[in-house]
């Protein structure tokens, strides 16, 4: 962090909260109730104090440019204001006590949900800027008023320097955020997270916060995140909070096997509506998959794979693969099927890349096939995938016609349930 300041330039929110505010003449104006911050880059700027006299008096907004010093006494002088500096509360205004302190926030660096115990400010050129969120035990003790005592005791007894647990402002997503600007900044931060991390965060949050984050995700990220959530009840609860329109967009973005699992858990009428909003072909595929019982090869498979005829050349196969790549779940294999749809071979991406452009698939395909039947049980599928180390296992019907493929990914949860 490019700040070369002495420690005296830092203030904690806990030091400013409930502090008495005086006029230069020494008259007490009230106590600090809240700090008002303009949520802007590079560091949020404190624009004023919400002060209250007595226990239930009216709250007054004191502009920060009128605060002439913080120590030894917080001093407010109305005449000190220079009009150019005036910033009034706008759409990006955050009330720190009301919206941030003691609330949960998302630490987008550590990818977890934490609670704000204290906030640290940098005091520079008579401006106060928010730099860190304190989420550690030391911050909690500071709030309670035990920090200095405990820190001294630890130093005296164990020569232990009690560390702070700070999160930089840049790595924080507020849950009770203000206007649209803050939201878009935050969305950027969230979209840098891996869907698996987003899923963990959603699982840690509760109620409205969870829904708010989920709604802030675009359909593609939402789909990937939903795939990573293990609890079907939570998946269902989240998808039920968005409109049918968006739900169908999200489910369309999910892999076949996850989409089918989720649709099967939803009330029938709802699932039907969602399917109705989808692209015809995809909805048709999903409807077919829904017929197969869960925990059989048919219920676990995806149909988003590339199947070509034996006569196709390597060049044309690569071209098709590139065109269809965004829609595919199975990327590593191309399945070779004859005109009757019977699976005759498999070509891996590796074989395809080393072959010469004009070779036909029938020349390079592996014809010794390991397949699962539609009604194969879950454990048989897992056995085959792990025994042969395939990335995906083709699924065929009784006449050996290719119906879909099961990805190694979709059995990972069965293999390593504790992996989250």
């Amino acid at each position: 962090m490019p700040i070369n300041a002495t420690p005296k330039d830092f203030y904690f929110f806990s030091e400013l909260l409930n502090r008495k505010i005086y006029t230069p003449e020494g008259e007490c104006l009230g106590r600090t109730m809240d700090l008002v911050v303009d949520w802007l880059e590079p560091y949020p700027l404190v624009i004023g104090i919400l002060a209250r006299k007595g226990f239930a008096g009216p709250a007054a907004f004191l502009h920060w440019s009128c605060i002439i010093r913080i120590a030894p006494q917080l001093t407010f002088s109305p005449s000190a204001a220079s009009v150019g500096q005036m910033i009034s509360p706008g759409p990006d205004t955050v009330y720190l006590r009301d919206q941030v302190l003691d609330k949960q926030i998302v630490d987008t660096f550590g990818a977890k949900v934490v609670r704000v115990n204290d906030i640290q400010f940098l005091h520079r050129n008579s401006q106060l800027r928010l730099v860190h969120f304190d989420v550690g035990f030391r911050g909690l003790m500071r709030r309670i008023g035990w920090e200095s005592g405990l820190a001294a005791a630890l130093r005296w007894m164990f020569a232990y320097e009690w560390p702070d647990t700070f999160i930089g402002w840049k790595y924080v997503h507020l849950l009770s955020g203000p206007g649209p600007l803050q939201l878009s900044v935050s969305q950027k931060k969230l979209s840098q997270l891996h869907p698996a991390e987003l899923a963990d965060i959603l699982e840690d949050l509760s109620g409205h916060d969870r829904e708010a984050i989920f709604h802030a995700l675009d359909a593609e990220t939402a789909a990937e995140t939903l795939e990573e959530i293990d609890d079907p009840r939570l998946q269902q609860a989240l998808i039920e909070t968005v409109s049918i329109d968006k739900a169908s967009d999200i489910i369309e973005g999910m892999s076949d096997s996850d989409a089918v699992d989720l649709l099967a858990d939803l009330p029938q009428a709802t699932a039907r509506e969602i399917l109705g909003e989808m692209e015809k072909d995809r909805a048709e595929d999903l409807r077919e998959l829904l017929v197969h019982p869960d925990k059989t090869a048919g219920g676990m498979m995806t149909t988003a794979l590339l199947s070509l005829s034996p006569e196709a050349t390597v060049e044309s196969a690569l071209k098709r693969w590139k065109e269809e790549e965004p829609e595919l779940d199975v990327l590593y294999y191309i399945y070779v099927v004859d005109s009757a749809g019977v699976l005759s071979g498999v070509v891996s991406m590796r074989e395809l890349l080393v072959a010469s452009a004009q070779q036909r698939l029938s020349e390079i395909q592996t014809s010794r096939l390991i397949t699962a039947k539609l009604d194969a049980r879950e454990d048989e599928v897992v056995d085959l995938l792990t025994k042969y180390g395939f990335r995906a296992l083709p699924v065929v019907d009784d006449q050996d016609r290719l119906k879909g493929a099961i990805r190694l990914r979709s059995v990972l949860e069965i293999l390593a349930p504790s992996g989250g």
Partner: protein, 418 residues
């Protein structure tokens, strides 16, 4: 959104569908109320019957109304905010108040945990098992069950075993009480505010409306993810649970009043209570009583330390969850283990007065209750938080009245003991 709601809350839906939806959403209230009749509860009700006969039985009616109101508020808060009670307290009242409340809750609940292990010890003594064997085994069992994650399956066993509460009802009927007298005691409330009686009433309220249970209930409601459209089912669940608690409580008091109180038996230990039932009500009553005590104690011992740990760690912002590893959530596992092994350890000290421990932990519950009630009331009436689901005047009156009465009783007790 609209269409989703329609599919869930359809008033045209056939009755059987409504009923099945109820069973699907049922649980938190029923489980909470069964945990309510824990070691401390059974002991307090038994002592109430043995010491005062049917004199205090009328108090069950106002206590039941208060319990319904309090639990309804908590479950409503859980449904509307989707957050636990400790989270709401932390967010509204700040770190300082939460910290001291958490210390208070830790000490109170520690007392309750000790009383659960006292229940195991007392119950198993009836079967002739020494507490030095029963308590360590049950402590390790409970600890491992929760940490190793097999609790959810065991919960059903505990719940089914709660059917044995019927034994109290049977006992209560077998002893052939004078129903006219029972009714008279309900109609003519009678309280003389002697120190013993004041303590007993605080204990009765404290064991029935235990502070920790409100945290636990709200957390279960949140975990269950009940939506506001389905809230009416959760409300019935809470009401049914509260009624069941009081039916069982009534019959425990009745059984003990008709046998122990009438024959003037003084009970010093729970074993006394169980054994002295034998000549008066048949020996199987003894065993049922002891079995019920052990089951209730183990059931609560599995829930109480865990729920306390959750509420403290969440209130103070530490990592929680039994799916985390020890290094990820050291405070969580630390607190949990401390509560179980300290609770069990204290019972193992020679000469521990088991009954007194169980009884006075409930009295402390009753003294702490108004504090928690004030927080609940301030939160549930916060329009920013609850929108249009804040309390109506009737609920506010009942809840504030409960708070006031409990503070007054505590004051009376304080003055008397000076």
């Amino acid at each position: 959104m609209k269409t989703f709601l329609k599919s869930i809350a359809d008033p045209e839906r056939p009755l059987w569908k409504n009923i099945s939806l109820f069973f699907l959403l049922m649980g938190p209230g029923i489980i909470t109320s069964n945990v309510d009749n824990d070691a401390g509860g059974i002991t307090t009700y038994s002592l109430a019957g043995a010491q005062f006969g049917l004199k205090l039985v009328w108090s069950l009616i106002p206590i039941m109304i208060s319990l319904i109101v309090v639990q309804e508020m908590c479950s409503r808060m859980g449904v509307v905010t989707g957050k636990g009670l400790q989270d709401l307290i932390r967010e509204k009242f700040g770190a300082k108040i939460t910290f001291y409340l958490m210390i208070g809750m830790f000490l109170t609940n520690m007392g309750n945990v000790i009383s659960e292990f006292a229940g195991v010890a007392a119950g198993m003594e009836v079967f002739g098992v020494s507490k030095y064997i029963a308590v360590p085994i049950s402590a390790v069992l409970v600890w491992a069950m929760v940490v190793k994650g097999s609790y959810k399956s065991v919960e059903k066993v505990f719940l089914v075993a709660c059917v044995f509460y019927v034994s109290y009802i049977i006992t209560g009927v077998i002893v052939k009480p004078d129903w006219g007298e029972v009714l008279a005691n309900f109609i003519h409330p009678n309280l003389s505010l002697t120190p013993a009686e004041t303590t007993m009433v605080i204990g009765l309220v404290g064991t029935t409306i235990a502070p920790w249970m409100q945290f636990y209930l709200q957390a279960s409601i949140v975990e269950k993810g009940i939506r506001i459209e389905n809230y009416k089912f959760a409300r019935w669940d809470v009401i049914m649970g509260s009624v069941v608690v009081h039916v069982v409580a009534f019959f425990i008091i009745l059984a003990c009043a008709e046998t122990l109180h009438k024959s003037g038996v003084q009970i010093e230990t729970a074993k006394d209570a169980a054994l002295s039932l034998a000549p008066l009500a048949g020996s199987y009553c003894t065993f049922l009583f002891a079995f019920g005590l052990v089951n209730a104690s183990l059931f609560s011992a599995s829930i109480l330390p865990l729920s306390t740990t959750y509420l403290i760690c969440e209130g103070l912002g530490w990592e929680t969850g039994i799916d985390k590893k020890f290094v990820e959530a050291p405070e969580f596992y630390g607190f949990y283990s401390l509560m179980i092994f300290l609770g069990a350890g204290i019972i193992l000290l020679p000469g521990m007065p088991l009954i007194s421990i169980m009884y006075f932990s409930q009295v402390i519950n009753g003294i702490v209750l108004p504090v928690v009630l004030v927080f609940i009331l301030l939160l549930v009436n916060d329009r920013k938080l609850m929108l249009h689901h804040t309390n109506g005047p009737v609920f506010n009156t009942v809840a504030w009245l409960t708070t006031g009465v409990m503070i007054a009783l505590t004051m009376v007790l304080l003055v008397q003991s000076l």
